[in-house]
């Protein structure tokens, strides 16, 4: 418990760091909310028009003042107002988050349910043709850019079979589970493809390590069947690296999968942030990046706690 508290204590510091970087970075990017809205027509504005728009977008003050204003707002849960959505940043983010979360969970589910068995399968057939087959498949999966996978899936389905899940609007799971899964399954597969490949490889090598450990020999000396040796004795010990990998990937996916969201037209966090950057929606970018960073840290913390749950040898101390 005190470990969790100690880790949580570090959160604000990291978040402040993230917020400062994003605050400065987004303002260093040429162009501002005004050019984003008006495009080249912004050149027709009179200085006065420009000033009044700057006040409207809240970009009239010097940076430190702007930061301070935003930062103090944080304490009352106010992340500012998104200028594109005309809504509080937090509510925009929370609208997008369920999709991103679901996509990440589905991708992870797919990755684990394919990757772990495949990795075990390969490990128990070490260096035999079956192992080689799995490994090559995994490497190919890992090395194909997700946009290629996505484009090819869409093309084959639409041109070849004339089917395609509804794109564009997102139906939350609790509204219509079937339609929701129909929409999410392809993107999840696209993401899960590379993810499953990594899981396969990590599982395989961890299992190979573990299978040569002493306690596996002990289990065999007790007369345990091969299945029990692999699934009951070896696998739990091989899970730490798998959890590490899944945690990192999952953490990244919670930040949104820009390219896959783009291809499948999913209104997720990743695309939202990208659009927000392109629109110079400063408050939204700041809020979203902060939110993503927080998620990432929470996932990391959960992963570390998972270690301790998985392996009693691991004691949680500082870092």
């Amino acid at each position: 418990m005190s470990y969790v508290i100690r880790r949580l204590r570090a959160f604000p510091l990291v978040l402040i760091g993230v917020s400062i970087i994003v605050f400065i970075a987004i303002r260093l990017v040429p162009g501002d909310s005004i050019t984003a809205m008006l495009g080249t027509e912004a050149g027709l504005l009179t200085p006065q028009q420009r000033d009044s728009l700057a006040i409207y977008f809240g970009i009239d003050q010097p940076w430190p003042v702007q930061y301070w204003r935003w930062f103090t707002g944080l304490f009352s849960g106010d992340l500012g107002i998104s200028v594109t959505y005309g809504k509080p940043v937090l509510s925009v983010i929370l609208e997008r988050f369920p999709l991103t979360l679901e996509l990440a969970l589905l991708a992870m589910l797919i990755a684990l349910s394919i990757g772990v068995p495949a990795g075990i399968f390969a490990a128990t057939r070490n260096e035999r043709p079956a192992d080689l087959g799995v490994r090559i498949a995994a490497m190919i999966g890992q090395s194909t850019p997700s946009f290629v996978v996505g484009l090819v899936i869409i093309y084959i389905l639409s041109a070849g079979f004339g089917v395609l899940p509804t794109m564009g609007a997102f139906t939350p799971f609790w509204q219509d589970p079937l339609q929701n899964l129909g929409q999410m399954i392809l993107p999840a597969i696209t993401l899960g493809c590379a993810f499953a490949s990594s899981v396969t490889r990590v599982t395989r090598s961890a299992m190979l390590d573990v299978l040569s450990d002493d306690y596996v020999r002990t289990a065999r000396s007790k007369g345990a069947s091969e299945r029990s040796v692999v699934w009951r004795h070896a696998l739990p010990n091989a899970l730490v690296p798998v959890v590490t990998l899944s945690g990192i990937e999952f953490g990244y996916l919670l930040g949104g999968a820009v390219i896959v969201e783009q291809i499948y037209a999913l209104p997720g966090l990743g695309r939202m942030v990208l659009e927000a950057i392109l629109q110079r929606d400063y408050a939204l970018v700041q809020g979203a990046v902060l939110f993503i960073a927080l998620n990432f840290m929470i996932v990391n913390l959960l992963v570390d706690l998972a270690y301790a749950a998985l392996d009693p040898r691991i004691r949680l101390e500082g870092r």
Binding site: G31, A159, G168
Partner: protein, 476 residues
């Protein structure tokens, strides 16, 4: 029936006076109406106003409003709303995009609920065309007072915005009170599919009835589909290679002309847009445009170009950087590359710098480039289209960096002249001069594309790219 529609880019905001992005206008023009509109031939037709007339001295413009016109909140459109709308546009605090077009307005009067009178400081023929712009839409005075323009969309157009989830979807429902009569569909459901290949895929599976396409590479695939139909309309917007005459050696007329002669405009069109478009001179509105072949060096002439270069003292060529925006238009990178290879023939070494759109806009507005590949919007009226660049106090002088007495005078003349035929002569001369002085190298105009299932009927493509005819579209 509901029309299921898709586009790749969503509107970026709801304030009709401020939003200038193509994607925003496509949504807002279905909700709001200006005083007057353009038809497919760019002729001015009634909007909120049913009739209009210039006074004989050209300094007074009177509109009669459509008594049937009603805002979506049920209130009638009155002259007070028109006055309030234009005052909002003219107020510097608003930051309205179209304000520059109305600087000649001296006062606005509303003698009765159905009449609006614009008093002008000087004759201003193009002001009427400017008023066709969605950026000059009439909004309810009550909404202005409440300060809700931009957060709520209350217009007098054919559709009412029911729900808008930016970058995801929008739902429009038919406006039963629309002065234009009953709409052909009960509503429009718009999905934002950022990848145009995905739009095409969705149309193939019949998921989408109607889509707006930007990329000619995708659009040209539509005719191959038996169930789909491609609509295209020549656009007023023009693809152009902007030179910066403030920078050496583009300050030399001969160099600019050499570049103009070295460019094979047709080849640029054929490669970057798969031939989808027409080579164009500076003026793109069909009524005013001259035959491109009559313009200076519109037939590629590398020998002449080389000679011009040598005359200017650049026989060995020079190096320059050309900026272009990523994906805006989708053909920009390709155009830059074709131009690069063509100009290499006369020794001009181009260095392409692709920029994110906003960065590009920022750089472009500062005039901080040697050359720029651009897709600039066109207007039906040459004066409205070009005064910003080629008059001496044009707002975008910083961008064009080219002040020329002849051009300035021709534009001023064209503005004051109200006789269409005389204006045509003035602008033909302007067209010729501009091509010859070659501050920019005009390339071509493309098409605006929409794709639809064949059971969708009644859509009229427009040179402005406008989708207003969706108001009358039906699904069989």
């Amino acid at each position: 029936a509901t029309l299921r529609m898709a586009w790749a880019q969503d509107a970026t905001g709801l304030d009709p006076h401020k939003q200038t992005a193509f994607s925003s206008l496509r949504l807002l023009e279905l909700i709001y109406e200006p005083l007057v509109r353009l038809d497919a031939d760019l002729k001015i037709i009634p909007g909120v106003a049913t009739a209009w007339e210039f006074s004989t001295d050209g300094k007074q413009l009177t509109f009669k409003l459509d008594p049937k016109a009603k805002f979506q909140n049920g209130a009638a459109v009155t002259s007070a709303d028109v006055k309030a709308s234009f005052e909002r546009i003219l107020d510097e605090k608003t930051g309205a995009a179209n304000r520059a077009n109305y600087l000649s307005i001296e006062s606005i009067e509303a003698p009765d609920a159905g009449t609006v009178v614009f008093k002008l400081k000087q004759p201003d023929a193009p002001i009427l065309t400017a008023m066709t712009d969605t950026n000059s839409s009439i909004v309810p005075a009550s909404e202005i007072a409440a300060g809700t323009i931009g957060t709520q969309a209350v217009g007098s157009g054919p559709f009412k915005l029911e729900k808008w989830d930016p970058n995801s979807k929008a739902a429009l429902v038919a406006n039963k009170d629309w002065a234009g009569g009953a709409t052909g569909v009960d509503g429009i459901e718009i999905s934002v599919l950022p990848d145009e290949t995905a739009i095409l895929a969705a149309m193939r599976t019949g998921q989408i009835d109607f889509a707006l396409l930007n990329d000619p590479l995708i659009a040209t695939l539509v005719p191959n589909e038996p169930k789909l139909q491609l609509n295209r309309a020549p656009l007023l917007a023009y693809h152009v290679l902007q030179l910066n005459p403030a920078r050496k050696p583009m300050n030399e007329l001969a160099v600019r002309q050499a570049i103009s002669c070295a460019v094979d405009r047709k080849a640029v069109l054929d490669t970057a847009s798969l031939g989808e478009g027409q080579v164009t001179g500076p003026i793109t509105a069909p009524f005013f445009a001259s035959d491109p072949n009559s313009l200076f060096c519109y037939k590629q002439d590398v020998e002449k170009a080389k000679k011009l270069m040598a005359d200017a003292g650049f026989a060995d060529g020079f190096s320059a950087t050309v900026i272009a925006a990523t994906g805006e238009p989708p053909t920009a990178a390709a155009e830059a590359q074709v131009l690069q290879s063509q100009l290499a023939e006369i020794g001009v070494k181009l260095d392409i710098k692709m920029m994110e759109l906003n960065v590009y806009v920022d750089t472009w507005l500062k005039g901080d480039f040697d050359m720029a590949v651009a897709l600039n919007g066109g207007r039906p009226d040459p004066y409205t289209m070009y005064n910003r660049y080629w008059t001496k106090n044009g707002n975008l002088q910083k961008v064009s960096n080219f002040a020329d007495d002849t051009l300035d005078k021709l534009l001023q003349d064209g503005r004051a002249e109200t006789d269409p035929e005389k204006r045509k002569v003035i602008f033909a001369e302007f067209d010729k001069q501009l091509a010859e002085k070659a501050p920019w190298i005009w390339l071509y105009t493309g098409y605006g594309y929409t794709a639809q299932q064949k059971n969708v009927q009644g859509f009229v493509p427009m040179p402005t790219g406008s989708l207003v005819s969706l108001g009358k579209v039906t699904i069989q």
